[in-house]
Amino acid sequence: MQYEIRLDGHLGTRWAAWLDGLAISCESDGTTVLRGSVVDQAALHGLLQKLRDVGIPLISLTQVPSDQAFEGNRP
C-alpha cells in the first residue's frame, strides 16, 4: 500500500534510512510529506509509532492509489 504522511516541521532527508526508505519531501508551507509503500497495517502503525516517539506532530495520513505513487528520494 502507498501512503502519504504529512508532518509539521521539516525533516531532513537524513531521516530516510530510519524511516525505512520513504521519500521525504520538505514543503514550502513548513510541513514535510513522507511518501512510499508500507507493507501492511502493522508496519504502518510501527511507522506512526516511530514518528510519535520522535515527537514530530502528525498532520495527516492518506492512502494513495498505486498509480499515483512516488518512488525513491527527492532532492
Binding site: 508532518l7 516541521g9 521539516h10 525533516l11 531532513g12 537524513r14 531521516w15 530516510a16 534510512a17 530510519w18 520538505c26 513548513g30 514535510t32 516511530k50 510519535r52 516517539d53 520522535v54 515527537g55 514530530i56
Partner: protein, 907 residues
C-alpha cells in the same frame, strides 16, 4: 535512608516474586530514576499533584520529551512529610507479556506493602491466562489495607498487549479505595476515562499543561542552566519550541559557551527544520569526535553500563565517559544510586539512532552483535535475543531462542516466546528441529495449523536415526531427545482436528511408547488423546481407563489445569456409563483441586457437571445451587464447553419448574454457543430443545426437529446418535406411534446394553415400557418398567422417569401397587416427582443454622410450639422465626412436609 534491614527485607520480598514466577526482575525498573539536576520547580503543576489529597487516577499523557517522568519523580520527592508508600514500575516493550507485566507490578506493590499480593503471585504462576483472577486477588488484598498505596506505571505506551490492557482495565474499573494509580504515557491508555472524569476521580496532565510557559522557560534557561539571555530571546525560543521541554534542553546545551547567543537564536528561529532535528545536530556537532561516535554507537542500547559500552564501542574509558555525559546533562539518566546503569532520554536516543542509520548503516549490525554477545555472557538471554534479531543475525538469534524456550515455557512467558518465534525468518527453522517444534507448539495453541504438517515432516526427517544429520543445528540436546514423542503427540492432535480417530490413537500410542518413563506430562497428554479417540468411538470402558491414567500422570507432573480438563471428560464418560456415583466423585475431586489451587480454569465446569448429576437424581435445589456457583465463577475459569453447557442445565431446571418459554430461550443461546472443545458431540442442543418442546406440548416442533436431524425408525443405534434417537423415540410416542418407537427402542436397549451405556439403556427401557403400555400390552409394560426401575435404583436415576410425563406417572403407580422389583424406586420417583426447584434459596445441608437444626429436630416430635420454646429456652416468637426459616429453606410450608423433606435430605 533505608536501613540495612529494610533493604534486605525489600530484596526478600522481591525475591519472592522472582521465586514464584521464575521471571528475573530488573531492580532498576522498580524504582523511579534519579532526579535530574537543573530542574525547574513547577509550582502550578505541583498544585494539581498534591500528595495530601491523592486522586484515584492520575494520567500524564504527552509525547516524548515533555518531562513526564521528571514531573512524577519530583512529585514523589517533594513533601517528605507525606509519605504514602509508592510502588514504581518503569515499563518497556518486554512488559507486553502479561506474565512479565504483572510480575513487575506485583513485585513493585509488594515492596511497599509486603502483606499484599502473595495469592495473586501464585495465581499468576499457576494460571497466567486467568488474569482477571490475578487482578481480583490483588484488588482484594489492597482493599483490606489501612494505609494508601500509590502505583506508578511509567511509559505505559510501551505495553502493546491487548491482554495487559484488558487486565489493567479490570483494575481501573474496580479500583480499591486505598490504591492510587498514576500512569505516564505517550498515548492515552485504552481505558474509558470519561467515567472517571465525570466522577472527579481523574487528574489529567497533558502536553498543554507540561509545556513551559515563558516564565518557566526563563527560570530554566537563566537560573537553572546559568545562561544570560534577554527576555526577548527567551520569548523567541519559547515560541519556536512551543515550550517543549526537550527542545529547550537541547537549546540550552547548544547555547552554553557561545559568544553570540542572540545570533544562534535568530538562526534557530529562522530555520524551518524540525526543532529536535536542528537542535540535536547543533549539540552533536559541538561534541568531540570521540564523544559523538560514542553517542551514536551506544544509541542502540536500551540501557547502558560501563562494561556494556566498552564491549560495544571497544573503548577503555567508558566509565569516565558516562560520568562526563551525565555531568554535562547530555540526556543521560541514571537508573540507580550506584551509577551502574543509565539510559538515554528516549527522544535523544531516537534521534541518535536515526543519525546512525544515516551515517553508518553498515556499523549497526556489528554493534548489535557485540551487545548481544555481552548480554549472553551475562546471562540475560532476552536482551541477547533482542540484539541478535536487531543485528539480523538470525542463526545466532535462533540459537539463543532455542536455549531460552524451556525456561520461557516454565515461566509461562507465552507471549514472549511467540513474539520471538515470529521474528525469526521461516528458513531458519528448516534445519533446526527443536526450534521447529516450538513453532509447531505455538501455532497449534492458536489454532493456526497451516504449515504445521510440513514442519512435522521436517522434524521427523531429522529425528530419523537413519537420516544423515549433517546440516542439522541443535543447541538443546535434552529437548532434541524428546522430539520423537512430542512430534507424535502433535500428529495425534492434528489427526484429531481432522476427525481421523484411528490416526489419533495410533499417533498417541506411538507418543506414549516414545515418552521417557518419568515424562509424566507427555504420557498424560498421550493417554488423554487416546482416551478421547476411544470415547468418540463409543468404547467407553477403554476411554475411562485412559482418562484415569491421564489424570494420574498429570497429577504427578503437577499440570493441574490438565487434570481438570481430563476430569470433565472422565466424568462425562462415567455418566454415559450410568455410573453417577463415580462421576460425582470425579467431579468433586476436580472441584477440590481447582478451588484449592486458584481457582483453576475448569473449576466452573466441575460445578456444572455436578449440577447435571444432581439433576439426574432430581435433586433440583442442589442442582440449582451448583449452577449458580458455576455461573458465578465466570467464563475465564471455564473451558470452552461451559457457555453452552450451563445454559442447557439452566434450561432443564426451568423446564422442570414449568418455565418452558424461558427454557427455550436459553437453549437457543446454548445452541449458538455450542462448543464441545474436542469431546464427542453426544448431546446436541437441538435434541434437548426437542425434549423441552415435547414437555411443553409442542409435538409439531419436536417432529420438525426429528425430520431436520434426519432420524428414521430404522436407524441403527450408535453412541453418538443415541441421545438423538432416544429423543426421537419420545417424539414418536408423543405422536401416537408406539409401534415404531418400540422397534427403535429395542435396538437401542440392545446397543446401549452392549456398549455398557447404562444411562441410555435405562431411558430406553423406560420409554419402551411406555410404548408397550400405549399398544395395550400392560404386562409387558410393567415388566419392562420394573427392569428400568431396578437398574435405575442402583445409581439413583430419577429424572429420566419424571421427564417421561404423566403416562409414566400412571405406570409408576401401577408398579408400586404390584410391589415387584423396583417398587421402592418407583415410590422414590413418585415422592419427588412433583417437586419443582424453588425460586428461593436452595438448601444445602449446611445452610441450616445450629438453632434452626435444633428447631427442626423438635419439629419431628409432637411437642407444640410453646413446648419447643420452653425446651430451647427461647421465646415463642423466636421459635416461629426459626420455623419460618426452616420451612423456607426446605421449600415446604407445613410441619409434616418439613419433617418428610428433612428425611429425604438425610438431615
Amino acid at each position: 535512608m533505608p536501613t540495612a534491614a529494610c533493604r534486605s527485607s525489600r530484596s526478600v520480598i522481591r525475591s519472592m516474586a522472582v521465586a514464584v514466577t521464575g521471571i528475573p526482575l530488573l531492580e532498576s525498573k522498580l524504582h523511579a530514576p534519579r532526579r535530574r539536576q537543573g530542574v525547574v520547580a513547577r509550582a502550578r503543576l505541583a498544585q494539581r499533584l498534591r500528595r495530601d489529597v491523592l486522586p484515584a487516577v492520575v494520567l500524564v499523557s504527552a509525547p516524548a520529551g515533555f518531562g513526564k517522568t521528571t514531573l512524577l519523580t519530583d512529585w514523589l520527592a517533594a513533601d517528605a512529610a507525606v509519605t504514602t508508600p509508592t510502588a514504581w514500575v518503569s515499563l518497556d516493550r518486554r512488559d507486553s507479556d502479561p506474565a512479565v507485566f504483572w510480575a513487575y507490578v506485583l513485585a513493585a506493590v509488594r515492596r511497599v506493602a509486603g502483606e499484599v499480593g502473595a495469592d495473586a503471585l501464585s495465581r499468576l504462576r499457576s494460571a497466567p491466562a486467568a488474569l482477571d483472577a490475578v487482578v481480583a486477588s490483588l484488588l482484594n488484598d489492597l482493599d483490606a489495607l489501612d494505609d494508601d498505596v500509590v502505583l506508578v506505571l511509567d511509559d505505559y505506551h510501551a505495553v502493546e498487549s491487548l491482554d495487559v490492557h484488558e487486565s489493567m482495565l479490570f483494575l481501573v474499573e474496580h479500583l480499591p479505595g486505598p490504591l492510587h494509580l498514576v500512569v505516564a504515557s505517550r498515548a492515552d491508555p485504552p481505558w474509558p476515562l470519561a467515567g472517571l472524569r465525570a466522577r472527579g476521580e481523574l487528574v489529567e496532565i497533558r502536553a498543554s499543561d507540561l509545556r513551559f510557559t515563558a516564565q518557566e522557560a526563563q527560570a530554566y534557561l537563566n537560573d537553572a542552566m546559568g545562561l544570560d539571555l534577554a527576555v526577548a530571546d527567551i520569548g523567541v525560543l519559547e515560541t519556536r519550541t512551543e515550550g517543549w521541554i526537550a527542545a529547550l534542553q537541547l537549546a540550552a546545551l547548544s547555547l552554553r559557551g557561545r559568544d553570540d547567543p542572540a545570533a544562534f537564536i535568530a538562526g534557530f528561529a529562522g530555520d524551518d527544520r524540525f526543532v529536535v532535528d536542528y537542535l540535536v545536530d547543533e549539540v552533536l556537532d559541538r561534541q568531540a569526535d570521540a564523544v559523538r561516535t560514542f553517542l551514536l554507537e551506544t544509541s542502540i542500547l536500551a540501557r547502558l553500563s560501563a562494561p556494556l559500552c566498552a564491549a560495544v564501542t571497544g573503548r577503555g574509558d567508558t566509565r569516565s565517559m558516562l560520568a562526563a555525559l551525565e555531568r554535562s546533562n547530555l540526556f543521560l539518566v541514571a537508573l540507580d544510586d550506584r551509577r551502574q546503569w543509565y539510559r538515554y532520554h528516549h527522544l535523544f536516543a531516537e534521534v541518535l539512532r536515526a543519525r546512525l542509520a544515516d551515517e553508518g548503516p553498515d556499523r549497526i549490525a556489528g554493534l548489535h552483535r557485540r551487545a548481544g554477545d555481552w548480554f549472553d555472557a551475562e546471562g540475560d538471554r532476552a536482551e541477547a535475543v533482542r540484539h541478535a534479531l536487531a543485528a539480523g543475525d538470525f542463526p545466532r538469534a535462533a540459537e539463543l531462542v532455542e536455549l531460552a524456550i524451556p525456561s520461557l515455557r516454565q515461566t509461562r512467558q507465552e507471549a514472549t516466546q511467540r513474539a520471538w518465534l515470529d521474528a525469526l525468518p521461516p528458513d531458519v527453522f528448516a534445519n533446526r528441529p527443536v526450534l521447529s517444534l516450538a513453532l509447531v507448539g505455538a501455532r497449534m495453541v492458536t489454532g493456526d495449523t497451516a504449515g504445521v504438517e510440513n514442519l512435522l515432516e521436517g522434524i521427523e526427517r531429522w529425528t530419523d536415526p537413519d537420516a544423515p544429520a549433517a546440516d542439522m543445528v541443535v543447541h538443546d540436546a535434552t529437548e532434541f531427545g524428546r522430539l520423537p514423542a512430542q512430534a507424535a503427540m502433535y500428529r495425534a492432535a492434528l489427526s484429531l482436528l481432522g476427525g481421523d480417530l484411528a490416526g489419533t490413537v495410533s499417533h498417541a500410542e506411538r507418543a506414549a511408547a516414545l515418552s521417557a518413563a518419568d515424562d509424566h506430562f507427555g504420557r498424560g497428554a498421550a493417554a488423554a488423546l487416546i482416551g478421547l479417540a476411544q470415547w468418540a468411538d463409543g468404547h467407553l470402558e477403554a476411554a475411562e481407563r485412559q482418562y484415569s491414567a491421564a489424570i494420574a500422570s498429570f497429577e504427578r507432573a503437577g499440570h493441574l489445569p490438565d487434570v481438570l480438563a481430563c476430569s470433565l471428560g472422565l466424568a462425562d464418560i462415567q455418566f454415559a456409563q450410568g455410573r453417577l456415583g463415580a462421576a460425582k466423585r470425579t467431579l468433586a475431586a476436580g472441584l477440590d483441586l481447582g478451588t484449592a489451587n486458584g481457582p483453576l480454569r475448569g473449576t466452573a465446569d466441575m460445578r456444572i457437571g455436578l449440577g447435571e448429576l444432581h439433576f439426574e437424581r432430581n435433586e433440583l435445589d442442589v442442582a440449582a445451587e451448583q449452577l449458580r456457583a458455576g455461573v458465578k465463577l465466570g467464563d475465564r475459569l471455564a473451558f470452552r464447553q461451559h457457555a453452552s453447557r450451563w445454559r442447557v442445565l439452566d434450561a432443564r431446571l426451568r423446564a422442570a419448574g414449568g418455565e418452558h418459554a424461558a427454557a427455550l430461550a436459553l437453549l437457543s443461546d446454548a445452541e449458538r454457543l455450542y462448543d464441545t472443545d474436542y469431546s464427542p458431540k453426544a448431546r446436541p442442543v437441538a435434541a434437548t430443545t426437542a425434549r423441552i418442546r415435547l414437555a411443553g406440548g409442542d409435538v409439531i416442533g419436536a417432529e420438525r426437529w426429528a425430520a431436520e436431524a434426519g432420524l428414521t425408525v430404522d436407524d441403527d443405534p450408535s453412541y453418538l446418535r443415541e441421545y438423538e434417537q432416544l429423543t426421537f423415540a419420545r417424539v414418536l410416542l408423543a405422536g401416537g406411534r408406539p409401534t415404531d418407537a418400540s422397534g427403535l427402542l429395542l435396538r437401542i436397549v440392545a446397543g446401549a446394553g452392549a456398549g455398557r451405556r447404562e444411562g441410555n439403556a435405562i431411558e430406553a427401557l423406560a420409554l419402551l415400557a411406555l410404548a408397550h403400555d400405549a399398544t395395550g400390552d400392560a404386562p409387558q409394560a410393567l415388566a419392562t418398567l420394573e427392569e428400568a426401575l431396578t437398574r435405575a435404583s442402583v445409581e439413583g436415576f430419577v429424572r429420566v422417569f419424571v421427564d417421561a410425563g404423566p403416562p409414566m406417572n400412571t405406570l409408576l403407580k401401577a408398579a408400586l401397587r404390584r410391589g415387584g422389583r423396583g417398587a421402592e424406586h418407583a415410590a422414590a420417583v413418585l415422592a419427588v416427582g412433583g417437586s419443582r426447584p424453588s425460586g428461593a434459596q436452595p438448601v444445602l445441608v449446611d445452610d441450616l443454622s445450629r438453632r434452626e437444626r435444633d428447631v427442626l429436630r423438635l419439629l419431628r416430635t409432637d411437642l407444640s410450639g410453646p413446648e419447643i420454646a420452653a425446651e430451647l429456652v427461647v421465646s415463642l416468637n423466636t421459635v416461629r422465626t426459626h420455623t419460618r426459616n426452616v420451612f423456607m429453606k426446605l421449600g415446604v410450608n407445613s410441619r409434616r412436609a418439613a419433617v418428610r423433606r428433612a428425611d429425604e435430605l438425610g438431615l
